[in-house]
Amino acid sequence: MTVRLPAGLDAFTGFTDGDDRTVEVAGGDLRSVVAAVEAALPGVAGHLVDGRGALRPHLLCLADGTATRDVDAPVGDEVRFLTAVSGG
């Protein structure tokens, strides 16, 4: 499972230009994927989900290419977080 993180989080992930900004984790649904991202990159999950675990409102999440906001939906090979135009 590959998670692709947005460049806007570089100050928290430690990625820089030139990196592909991915992290390989295990997880069957978005909630467990976010938890696994936190284990791999401490401090990052709180910028993807709010205190209740819901996807932050101006983030887009593509699970295997399909937009979702359901943290309990099953996911397959790739989860991608993108910054929505509405947030900027």
Partner: protein, 353 residues
């Protein structure tokens, strides 16, 4: 050497006032909402519509590290129905305050947290965060935010908009609202049948280093002073040109005790009176106010200083950042002012380091 830290809508910057040099952007694209110091750590609070709030720390102002766990309400147990959106969320960190025991943080949505390890981990302060009046707390234009914390031993003050000033005498375990003498924002006095307990739009609270009972307050409704720890407030705005005494900043320079504010035309306009960008100064503890010194622009300058966008030290320096992205500095307690080189995004936070 003094470094001026500037927090803007799109990143932070460090300016050396001696030569005007400006650092590369810190946290480019992130809103920098507050600065602080604790132990050997410099602190910068950041926020983003996409990613929420965070805190970075540095010991050398060069290398910054994000903490793993900024203040959070977690999965809010007080929420009546999280799906209806009434759960509390920490959306921004508005202020830091360091005392002998703790590093404190005031946050939006209004809350109080403290840290015993220089900002690495945080604990919620339920005496404030679960206050019995919380259901009556409502945001001002700037949001529902705790924007100021002052402490004197077990005496703790928290200023929250648009709620009011809170005082604790037991180290933050319990809080009382202390706003007697402050008009209710937006309500003509003759129409106020019974004073509400909350709804006071404090813009900035300043303290006296040697007197825990002495407070200075730039409120939505004017400039006020208290001699009794906020139990009563008295208007002190003679000489200010602002309608009602409207403004956002209130600073006290340590070596002289001079007070500083920036009057704005009115709550409706929020512009300098007649385009005259001027910071005003009081040399007599708020009894009277006049334009602070010289150096001000002659051209119309329609900008303002927000509540967190200034700082004062105990060595004559007062710095103010504006919504136009300019920075003004005095190094002689307000006798002369100069604009520093550089133009930045809208400035919301400033620190003298």
């Amino acid at each position: 050497m003094t470094t001026i830290a500037i927090g803007t809508e799109k990143g932070g910057f460090l300016v050396d006032p001696a030569d005007g040099s400006v650092s590369d952007p810190l946290f480019g694209g992130w809103k920098v909402t507050a600065f602080g110091q604790s132990g050997d750590q410099y602190l910068a609070a950041v926020g983003s519509n996409w990613f929420g709030p965070g805190i970075h720390r540095s010991t050398d102002l060069d290398s910054w590290t994000a903490i793993d766990a900024p203040p959070t309400y977690g999965d809010d147990p007080e929420a009546k129905d999280p799906e209806e959106g009434d759960a509390r969320e920490v959306t921004a960190i508005w202020t830091f305050h360091r005392d002998d025991g703790w590093l404190w943080a005031g946050v939006e949505q209004a809350g109080l947290f403290r840290s015993g390890d220089d900002g690495r981990t945080w604990e919620s302060m339920p005496g404030f965060n679960d206050h019995r009046t919380r259901g009556d707390w409502h945001p001002g234009l700037g949001g529902l935010c705790s924007h100021r914390v002052l402490t004197y031993g077990d005496r703790v003050y928290v200023a929250a908009s648009a709620v009011g000033v809170f005082r604790s005498d037991d180290g933050g375990a319990t809080f009382d609202l202390v706003n007697d003498g402050i008009p209710v924002a937006g309500m003509p006095p003759e129409e106020v049948q019974e004073r509400p307990e909350t709804g006071y739009c404090v813009h900035r609270l300043e303290g006296h280093p040697d007197d825990p009972d002495r407070l200075y307050r730039q409120d939505h409704m004017g400039v006020f002073v208290s001699d009794d720890g906020g139990s009563s407030w008295h208007r002190r705005q003679a000489g200010l040109p602002a309608e009602m005494g409207f403004g956002f900043m209130m600073a006290r320079e340590g070596s002289t005790g001079r007070l500083f504010t920036q009057p704005l035309h009115s709550d409706g306009q929020r512009l300098p009176v007649d385009g005259d960008f001027r910071i005003y100064r009081s040399d007599d503890d708020g009894e009277s106010w006049a334009v602070s010194g010289t150096g001000w622009p002659e051209a119309a300058t329609h900008t303002q200083v927000l509540r967190g966008a200034f700082d004062a030290d105990g060595d004559g320096r007062v710095v103010a950042g504006t919504t136009a992205g300019t920075v003004w500095l005095t190094e002689d307690a307000g006798d002369t002012w100069r604009q520093l080189p550089g133009t930045f995004p809208r400035i919301g936070a400033v620190a003298l380091w």
